[in-house]
Protein backbone atom coordinates (compact mmCIF):
# COMPACT_ATOMS: atom_id res chain seq x y z
CA UNK A 1 0.00 0.00 0.00
CA UNK A 2 1.22 3.48 -0.81
CA UNK A 3 1.48 6.05 1.98
CA UNK A 4 -0.92 8.13 -0.08
CA UNK A 5 -3.57 5.40 0.25
CA UNK A 6 -3.06 5.35 4.00
CA UNK A 7 -3.71 9.07 4.12
CA UNK A 8 -6.81 8.63 1.92
CA UNK A 9 -8.24 5.70 3.90
CA UNK A 10 -7.85 7.61 7.15
CA UNK A 11 -8.85 11.01 5.79
CA UNK A 12 -5.55 12.12 7.25
CA UNK A 13 -3.80 15.42 7.05
CA UNK A 14 -0.17 15.18 5.89
CA UNK A 15 2.10 17.26 8.11
CA UNK A 16 5.35 16.27 6.42
CA UNK A 17 6.67 13.80 3.88
CA UNK A 18 4.41 14.92 1.03
CA UNK A 19 7.19 13.98 -1.40
CA UNK A 20 7.32 10.36 -0.21
CA UNK A 21 3.61 9.54 -0.44
CA UNK A 22 4.21 7.23 -3.38
CA UNK A 23 6.41 4.96 -1.28
CA UNK A 24 5.10 1.42 -0.82
CA UNK A 25 4.77 0.00 2.67
CA UNK A 26 3.70 -3.54 3.55
CA UNK A 27 2.84 -3.58 7.22
CA UNK A 28 2.00 -1.47 10.23
CA UNK A 29 1.67 -1.63 13.98
CA UNK A 30 -0.51 0.28 16.41
CA UNK A 31 0.56 1.06 19.97
CA UNK A 32 0.72 3.80 22.56
CA UNK A 33 3.54 2.01 24.35
CA UNK A 34 6.88 2.72 22.74
CA UNK A 35 8.53 0.00 24.85
CA UNK A 36 6.26 -2.54 23.17
CA UNK A 37 6.98 -1.13 19.72
CA UNK A 38 10.68 -1.58 20.42
CA UNK A 39 10.06 -5.11 21.71
CA UNK A 40 7.63 -6.63 19.24
CA UNK A 41 7.91 -4.75 15.99
CA UNK A 42 9.90 -6.14 13.10
CA UNK A 43 10.10 -4.33 9.79
CA UNK A 44 6.70 -2.70 10.12
CA UNK A 45 7.02 0.58 8.27
CA UNK A 46 4.10 2.46 9.76
CA UNK A 47 3.45 3.33 13.40
CA UNK A 48 -0.10 4.23 14.41
CA UNK A 49 -0.25 5.90 17.80
CA UNK A 50 -2.19 8.30 19.98
CA UNK A 51 0.88 9.18 22.03
CA UNK A 52 2.43 12.59 21.40
CA UNK A 53 6.00 13.22 22.49
CA UNK A 54 9.37 13.33 20.71
CA UNK A 55 10.17 9.75 21.75
CA UNK A 56 7.48 8.57 19.32
CA UNK A 57 9.53 9.94 16.44
CA UNK A 58 12.79 8.62 17.92
CA UNK A 59 11.23 5.17 18.30
CA UNK A 60 10.14 5.28 14.66
CA UNK A 61 13.66 6.30 13.69
CA UNK A 62 15.19 3.42 15.67
CA UNK A 63 12.86 0.96 13.94
CA UNK A 64 13.60 2.40 10.45
CA UNK A 65 9.94 3.25 9.97
CA UNK A 66 8.67 5.38 7.10
CA UNK A 67 5.52 6.92 8.51
CA UNK A 68 3.86 7.82 11.82
CA UNK A 69 0.08 8.22 11.96
CA UNK A 70 -1.30 10.11 14.95
CA UNK A 71 -4.87 9.09 15.73
CA UNK A 72 -7.68 10.69 17.76
CA UNK A 73 -6.74 14.01 16.14
CA UNK A 74 -3.60 14.26 18.28
CA UNK A 75 -1.28 16.86 16.84
CA UNK A 76 2.49 16.52 17.18
CA UNK A 77 4.55 19.60 18.03
CA UNK A 78 6.43 21.50 15.35
CA UNK A 79 9.66 20.16 16.85
CA UNK A 80 8.45 16.58 16.36
CA UNK A 81 7.39 17.22 12.78
CA UNK A 82 10.80 18.73 12.03
CA UNK A 83 12.60 15.77 13.61
CA UNK A 84 10.50 13.39 11.51
CA UNK A 85 10.99 15.42 8.35
CA UNK A 86 14.78 15.49 8.79
CA UNK A 87 14.70 11.72 9.05
CA UNK A 88 12.42 11.12 6.07
CA UNK A 89 9.49 9.94 8.13
CA UNK A 90 6.08 11.07 6.90
CA UNK A 91 3.71 12.36 9.58
CA UNK A 92 -0.06 12.00 9.24
CA UNK A 93 -2.86 13.11 11.55
CA UNK A 94 -6.22 11.34 11.51
CA UNK A 95 -9.30 12.08 13.59
CA UNK A 96 -10.15 8.35 13.75
CA UNK A 97 -9.63 6.46 16.96
CA UNK A 98 -6.95 3.79 17.14
CA UNK A 99 -9.30 0.84 16.64
CA UNK A 100 -11.03 2.41 13.64
CA UNK A 101 -7.79 3.53 12.06
CA UNK A 102 -6.21 0.08 12.39
CA UNK A 103 -9.40 -1.57 11.12
CA UNK A 104 -9.58 0.64 8.05
CA UNK A 105 -5.96 0.01 7.13
CA UNK A 106 -6.15 -3.73 7.84
CA UNK A 107 -9.27 -4.23 5.78
CA UNK A 108 -7.71 -2.05 3.10
CA UNK A 109 -4.92 -4.60 2.78
CA UNK A 110 -2.21 -3.35 5.10
CA UNK A 111 -1.20 -6.31 7.24
CA UNK A 112 0.88 -6.64 10.37
CA UNK A 113 3.57 -8.92 8.97
CA UNK A 114 6.30 -7.40 6.84
Amino acid sequence: MKLRQIADLLGAEVLCGEQQLDEEVHSACGSDMMSDVLAYVKDQAVLITGLVNPQVVRTAMMMDMRCVVFVRGKRPTQEMVELANENHIAVLVSSHRMYEACGKLYSGGLGCEA
Binding site: Q55, R58, M61, M62
Partner: protein, 140 residues
Protein backbone atom coordinates in the same frame (compact mmCIF):
# COMPACT_ATOMS: atom_id res chain seq x y z
CA UNK B 1 38.90 0.99 9.76
CA UNK B 2 41.90 -0.62 11.45
CA UNK B 3 41.59 0.96 14.88
CA UNK B 4 38.72 0.93 17.31
CA UNK B 5 36.58 4.02 16.98
CA UNK B 6 35.25 5.35 20.25
CA UNK B 7 32.33 7.71 20.71
CA UNK B 8 31.51 9.24 24.07
CA UNK B 9 28.22 10.85 25.10
CA UNK B 10 26.91 12.44 28.27
CA UNK B 11 23.27 11.53 28.77
CA UNK B 12 21.33 14.38 30.38
CA UNK B 13 19.20 13.00 33.17
CA UNK B 14 16.91 15.99 33.52
CA UNK B 15 15.55 16.01 30.03
CA UNK B 16 13.28 13.22 28.87
CA UNK B 17 12.61 15.11 25.64
CA UNK B 18 16.21 14.76 24.51
CA UNK B 19 16.62 11.15 25.70
CA UNK B 20 17.72 9.02 22.79
CA UNK B 21 19.72 11.76 21.09
CA UNK B 22 22.99 9.84 21.57
CA UNK B 23 21.45 6.70 20.06
CA UNK B 24 20.28 8.69 17.04
CA UNK B 25 23.81 10.03 16.62
CA UNK B 26 25.35 6.55 16.86
CA UNK B 27 22.86 5.25 14.34
CA UNK B 28 23.87 8.00 11.92
CA UNK B 29 27.59 7.29 12.39
CA UNK B 30 27.20 3.53 11.91
CA UNK B 31 25.29 4.22 8.70
CA UNK B 32 28.13 6.41 7.46
CA UNK B 33 30.58 3.63 8.32
CA UNK B 34 28.55 1.25 6.15
CA UNK B 35 27.42 -1.36 8.68
CA UNK B 36 24.48 -3.61 7.68
CA UNK B 37 21.04 -2.14 8.43
CA UNK B 38 20.04 -4.99 10.76
CA UNK B 39 23.22 -4.59 12.85
CA UNK B 40 22.65 -0.85 13.10
CA UNK B 41 19.08 -1.37 14.17
CA UNK B 42 20.02 -3.84 16.92
CA UNK B 43 22.72 -1.52 18.27
CA UNK B 44 20.58 1.57 18.20
CA UNK B 45 17.49 -0.04 19.81
CA UNK B 46 19.58 -1.54 22.63
CA UNK B 47 21.35 1.74 23.22
CA UNK B 48 18.12 3.73 23.03
CA UNK B 49 16.46 1.55 25.67
CA UNK B 50 19.54 1.92 27.84
CA UNK B 51 19.57 5.66 27.40
CA UNK B 52 15.89 5.91 28.35
CA UNK B 53 16.59 3.74 31.41
CA UNK B 54 19.40 6.03 32.54
CA UNK B 55 17.19 9.10 32.21
CA UNK B 56 14.20 7.48 33.93
CA UNK B 57 15.99 5.73 36.78
CA UNK B 58 19.44 7.19 37.26
CA UNK B 59 19.42 10.93 36.49
CA UNK B 60 21.49 10.30 33.37
CA UNK B 61 24.98 8.96 32.89
CA UNK B 62 27.52 8.31 30.18
CA UNK B 63 27.45 6.24 27.03
CA UNK B 64 30.58 4.96 25.32
CA UNK B 65 30.44 3.15 22.01
CA UNK B 66 33.39 1.15 20.67
CA UNK B 67 33.21 0.35 16.99
CA UNK B 68 35.36 -2.36 15.44
CA UNK B 69 35.00 -3.98 12.03
CA UNK B 70 33.42 -7.13 13.47
CA UNK B 71 31.74 -5.88 16.64
CA UNK B 72 30.10 -2.88 18.26
CA UNK B 73 30.16 -2.49 22.04
CA UNK B 74 28.11 -0.09 24.13
CA UNK B 75 28.95 0.74 27.74
CA UNK B 76 26.29 2.68 29.67
CA UNK B 77 27.36 3.85 33.10
CA UNK B 78 25.36 5.74 35.71
CA UNK B 79 25.61 6.71 39.33
CA UNK B 80 21.96 6.05 40.03
CA UNK B 81 20.29 3.93 42.71
CA UNK B 82 21.51 0.57 41.36
CA UNK B 83 19.32 -2.48 40.68
CA UNK B 84 18.51 -4.44 43.87
CA UNK B 85 17.36 -7.60 42.05
CA UNK B 86 18.77 -7.98 38.55
CA UNK B 87 16.94 -11.24 37.87
CA UNK B 88 13.63 -9.57 38.64
CA UNK B 89 14.52 -6.50 36.57
CA UNK B 90 15.25 -8.79 33.61
CA UNK B 91 11.72 -10.24 33.66
CA UNK B 92 9.52 -9.00 30.84
CA UNK B 93 6.80 -6.76 32.20
CA UNK B 94 8.50 -5.94 35.49
CA UNK B 95 8.95 -2.19 35.84
CA UNK B 96 9.58 0.33 38.58
CA UNK B 97 9.06 3.31 36.27
CA UNK B 98 6.80 6.02 37.72
CA UNK B 99 3.38 6.80 36.21
CA UNK B 100 4.58 9.97 34.50
CA UNK B 101 7.04 7.88 32.50
CA UNK B 102 4.34 5.35 31.56
CA UNK B 103 2.27 8.24 30.29
CA UNK B 104 5.14 8.97 27.92
CA UNK B 105 5.00 5.46 26.44
CA UNK B 106 7.75 3.78 28.42
CA UNK B 107 7.91 1.70 31.58
CA UNK B 108 6.34 -1.45 30.13
CA UNK B 109 9.06 -3.52 31.73
CA UNK B 110 10.63 -4.28 28.36
CA UNK B 111 13.79 -2.17 28.53
CA UNK B 112 16.36 -4.59 29.90
CA UNK B 113 14.79 -7.65 28.20
CA UNK B 114 14.89 -5.73 24.91
CA UNK B 115 18.52 -4.82 25.42
CA UNK B 116 19.33 -8.49 25.90
CA UNK B 117 17.15 -9.52 22.98
CA UNK B 118 18.88 -7.24 20.50
CA UNK B 119 22.49 -7.83 21.59
CA UNK B 120 24.77 -10.88 21.53
CA UNK B 121 26.28 -10.26 24.93
CA UNK B 122 25.07 -8.22 27.87
CA UNK B 123 26.59 -7.78 31.31
CA UNK B 124 25.09 -5.80 34.19
CA UNK B 125 27.29 -4.63 37.03
CA UNK B 126 25.30 -2.88 39.70
CA UNK B 127 25.58 -1.83 43.32
CA UNK B 128 22.67 -0.41 45.28
CA UNK B 129 23.31 3.21 46.10
CA UNK B 130 26.36 3.42 43.80
CA UNK B 131 25.19 2.91 40.25
CA UNK B 132 24.93 0.57 37.31
CA UNK B 133 27.08 -0.22 34.31
CA UNK B 134 25.55 -2.13 31.42
CA UNK B 135 27.92 -3.47 28.75
CA UNK B 136 26.50 -4.81 25.52
CA UNK B 137 28.09 -6.20 22.37
CA UNK B 138 26.63 -6.83 18.95
CA UNK B 139 28.68 -8.91 16.51
CA UNK B 140 28.52 -7.89 12.89
Amino acid sequence: MAETLRFHYDVDGDNFTSAGAASVEVKRKLRQLGFPAETIRRVSIAMYEGEINMVVHARGGTADVYVEPDSISIVLADQGPGIPDVELAMQEGYSTAPDNIRALGFGAGMGLPNMQRYTDEMKIETEVGKGTTVSMTVYV
